[in-house]
């Protein structure tokens, strides 16, 4: 198949190639356009009808999914009726083309537009060059955000990876493996906002003369201390960020534990026995054999958590709103764009965040590829 393809491509004239390109782009653009038109027509039709709600929902589902399915089917049929060579050239684009087109529309174009906006002033009218970027690296709150994000990356990823690995190793040797793993995985099912609410209770602080309902303060008071408002404990800035970071560690440990657990179970038993006979201690086996064996998983999990902490927003927004020296890049971006209405500055922050994520992302994808995940 592949051979046939290359030979036919190399013999194509420039004209044919150009025609192929035009047809491919046409297919990629026209299919989603028709799909949007059909779905929009359906929306208008349903909006104005008086049918019961459940019927509308049902029709919407059938209309949307069925309509798009039909569209692909029709286009595929048309392409298959073309001469063999042309079917080969165009068929992939019937299916992958629309996805690419939509990705460009929703992802690539907004990114480009955001970059353009980041070079304009707060109203998006006047070109001001790199002034927004200069501001990012000089403004006090932004520098605070960078510092905090660095803390998030270092502590958040290190602890959730280390804790996940430790629990996976220990659970593997325990007869309570399933129960303990389920309990630790459970937080993964909780939304960040939900987790924020839960941890707000943990950190709740009441006047000293009434009973403490927050666990942490209850302990402190039981030992004769006075209750503290933990994130607002500005004396220890920037370490009060750790009270927020713990929440994400709590949420993420389950994720890393599950992946590590699967990877550890993939280590052949004979390998560990060979090391034991060779004279390695259990600790040596862990660091010298097991860790290198699951290295791929380790890097994948680590980078995933790093990307995650780079983009952290919800937990901070819910718990402190960025007060008490807990701003992060994403909260700054939100504040600038939607509270202060400074679209230029907000866009510049978004671009910086994107640039920060890209190298980690590339590394992550390369790891995936090495593991032949795709």
């Amino acid at each position: 198949m592949a051979q046939i393809n290359t030979s036919s491509n190399s013999s194509d004239s420039v004209g044919t190639k150009f025609l192929a390109l035009i047809s491919r782009v046409f297919i990629a653009v026209v299919i989603p356009l028709i799909a949007f038109a059909v779905i929009y027509a359906g929306f208008i039709f349903l909006r104005d009808s008086n049918a019961p709600k459940w019927l509308i929902a049902l029709v919407a589902i059938v209309w949307g999914v069925g309509g798009v399915g039909l569209l692909f089917w029709v286009f595929n049929g048309i392409v298959e009726r073309l001469p063999d060579k042309w079917t080969q050239r165009l068929q992939p684009f019937v299916f992958a083309g629309p996805a690419i087109a939509i990705l460009i529309w929703y992802l690539a174009l907004p990114t480009a537009r955001t970059f353009w906006l980041s070079l304009l002033d707060r109203n998006g009218t006047e070109f001001i060059g790199i002034q927004n970027y200069v501001a990012i690296f000089t403004e006090r709150l932004m520098r605070e955000a960078f510092r905090n994000n660095l803390m998030w990356i270092i502590f958040g990823s290190t602890f959730s990876v280390a804790a996940g690995l430790l629990i996976a190793v220990l659970a593997d040797r325990s007869k309570w493996e399933r129960v303990s793993k389920s309990l630790i995985f459970l937080p993964m099912a909780i939304s960040f906002v939900g987790a924020g609410v839960i941890w707000n209770f943990m950190y709740e602080s009441r006047p000293i003369d009434v009973p403490q309902i927050g666990l942490l303060n209850a302990i402190v008071v039981a030992f004769g201390g006075s209750p503290k408002a933990w994130f607002a404990w500005t004396d220890i800035i920037p370490w009060n960020n750790l009270f927020l970071i713990v929440i994400v560690i709590w949420l993420q440990t389950g994720y890393s534990m599950v992946l590590f657990s699967a990877a550890l179970k993939g280590i052949p038993n004979e390998l560990l026995e060979a090391a034991r006979v060779d004279g390695a201690t259990e600790i040596r086996i862990f660091f010298g054999i097991m860790i290198p064996y699951i290295r791929g998983t380790l890097i994948t999990v680590w980078t995933t958590v790093v990307i995650f902490t780079l983009k952290i927003f919800d937990v901070v927004w819910v718990m402190t709103g960025g007060q008490f020296g807990t701003e992060v890049i994403a909260t700054q971006f939100y504040r600038q764009s939607f509270v202060a209405r400074n679209s230029g500055f907000g866009s510049a922050i978004a671009i910086i965040l994107l640039i920060a994520v890209i190298p980690v992302m590339i590394y992550n994808l390369r790891q995936f590829r090495e593991q032949e995940a795709f």
Binding site: P268, E270, L271, E273, A274, A275, R276, V277, D278, G279, A280, R284, G288, I289, P292, Y293, R295
Partner: protein, 366 residues
């Protein structure tokens, strides 16, 4: 260099007895093969010696030292695993050097030993490679090399050749035998392949159902099997067994299977006399059943008749499947014998190679 002793060793998993009262003395520098069908306990016996499996009862000693509670690393053993168990992230060199590094062997000494082992095994040009970049045969040699460099008192090998293709297995077999001669160390080798067992071992321990059936030299195992199991396990095609009644007539002993009647040589009469009148299990190896034309001279031949049901010509020998009525047998006959399926055939049994077993205990009558 050390002897190995199993003394009343048991291994139980819950209520299941996997090894049942194993007693064995393996001499220094000996090459002993544990053989048996899967699940017979041969690997478990080896793993208990390695320290990878706990001993439920009894004692295992290496040299003069009881090793029941000694961790694997302090037993002075090296092991080659079926899957080779090479460390995938280490080069061939590091794989071999790993055990020595852990023992804080000086660098120069490590280097010398690894290079020497690599020379013996022909791995010299592969030292920088990772296991992933090696063929099956090369990996197997690295696994052996990793054991050699340790210069252990006892070598343990758990089916090290079973992942190789048939041709490579034959040459690797010879390599390991040569290695044993060269190193002069105690080797204990587990396999389910009787050819490996027969060709490699100084002595072979045949296990079945967790019980040691017999430990003996290959020759004795073949010529004087202790019981029906060993007799049937060693040899290919397997020994023919018949249920026969021993009858005494005119001062001679005969075995009557119902289909055929053969005479026991008179010189063996005293041994079997007490079984006269009772049923016994008679064993006859296929290679001791001949076509009368090509029977070797000087044998005590007893004729039988049957019809050929299947003829397999292997080139150097001919396997003849014969029905004698209610019994059937396999004979390895001379390839010149002219026989087709359905023919009536005349054969002779070489009664000098008769094996008789007590029908109840299945033990050899001697």
């Amino acid at each position: 260099m050390a002897s190995v002793t199993y003394k009343n060793v048991y291994k139980r998993f819950g209520d299941v007895v996997v090894i049942n009262d194993l007693n064995m003395d393996i001499a220094d520098k000996e090459f002993v093969v544990f053989v048996g069908p899967s699940g017979c306990g041969k690997s478990t016996s080896l793993r208990m010696l390695a320290g990878l499996e706990e001993i439920s009862d009894g004692e295992i000693s290496i040299g003069d030292r009881v090793v029941n509670d000694v961790p694997p690393k302090d037993r002075d053993i090296a092991m080659v695993f079926q899957s080779y168990a090479l460390y995938p992230h280490m080069s061939v060199y590091d794989n071999m050097a790993f055990g020595l590094k852990l023992r804080k062997t000086p660098k120069a000494e490590i280097d010398r030993r690894v290079k020497e082992a690599a020379d013996i095994l022909g791995l010299g040009s592969l030292l920088e490679r990772k296991p992933k970049a090696l063929s099956g045969g090369q990996r197997q040699r690295v696994a052996v090399g990793r054991a050699i460099v340790r210069e252990p008192a006892v070598f343990l090998m758990d089916e090290p050749l079973s992942n190789l293709d048939a041709k490579l297995r034959v040459s690797a077999r010879a390599e390991i035998t040569k290695l044993h001669k060269r190193l002069g160390t105690t080797f204990i080798y587990v396999t389910h392949d009787q050819v490996e067992a027969m060709t490699m071992g100084d002595r072979i321990a045949v296990l079945a159902d967790g019980i040691l059936q017999q430990i003996d030299s290959p020759r004795n195992l073949y010529n004087k099997p202790n019981n029906v199991f060993v007799a049937g396990f060693i040899g290919s095609p397997a020994m023919n067994f018949f249920t026969a009644t021993m009858v005494q007539e005119d001062g001679h002993l005969f075995l009557d299977s119902g289909d055929f009647r053969v005479q026991i040589p008179d010189d063996r009469k005293p041994v079997f006399q007490s079984y006269a009148g009772s049923e016994v299990t008679m064993g006859m190896r296929p290679e001791h059943i001949h076509s009368p034309e090509f029977a070797p001279p000087g044998i005590v031949a007893s004729p039988i008749k049957g019809s050929a049901e299947l003829v397999e010509l292997l080139g150097h020998e001919l396997h003849l499947y014969v029905s004698t009525g209610k019994n059937s047998l396999v004979a390895t006959v001379d390839t010149r014998m002219n026989v087709n399926v359905g023919n009536n055939v005349d054969l002779v049994m070489d009664m000098g190679n008769l094996h008789l077993f007590d029908k109840k205990t299945e033990k050899a009558i001697r």
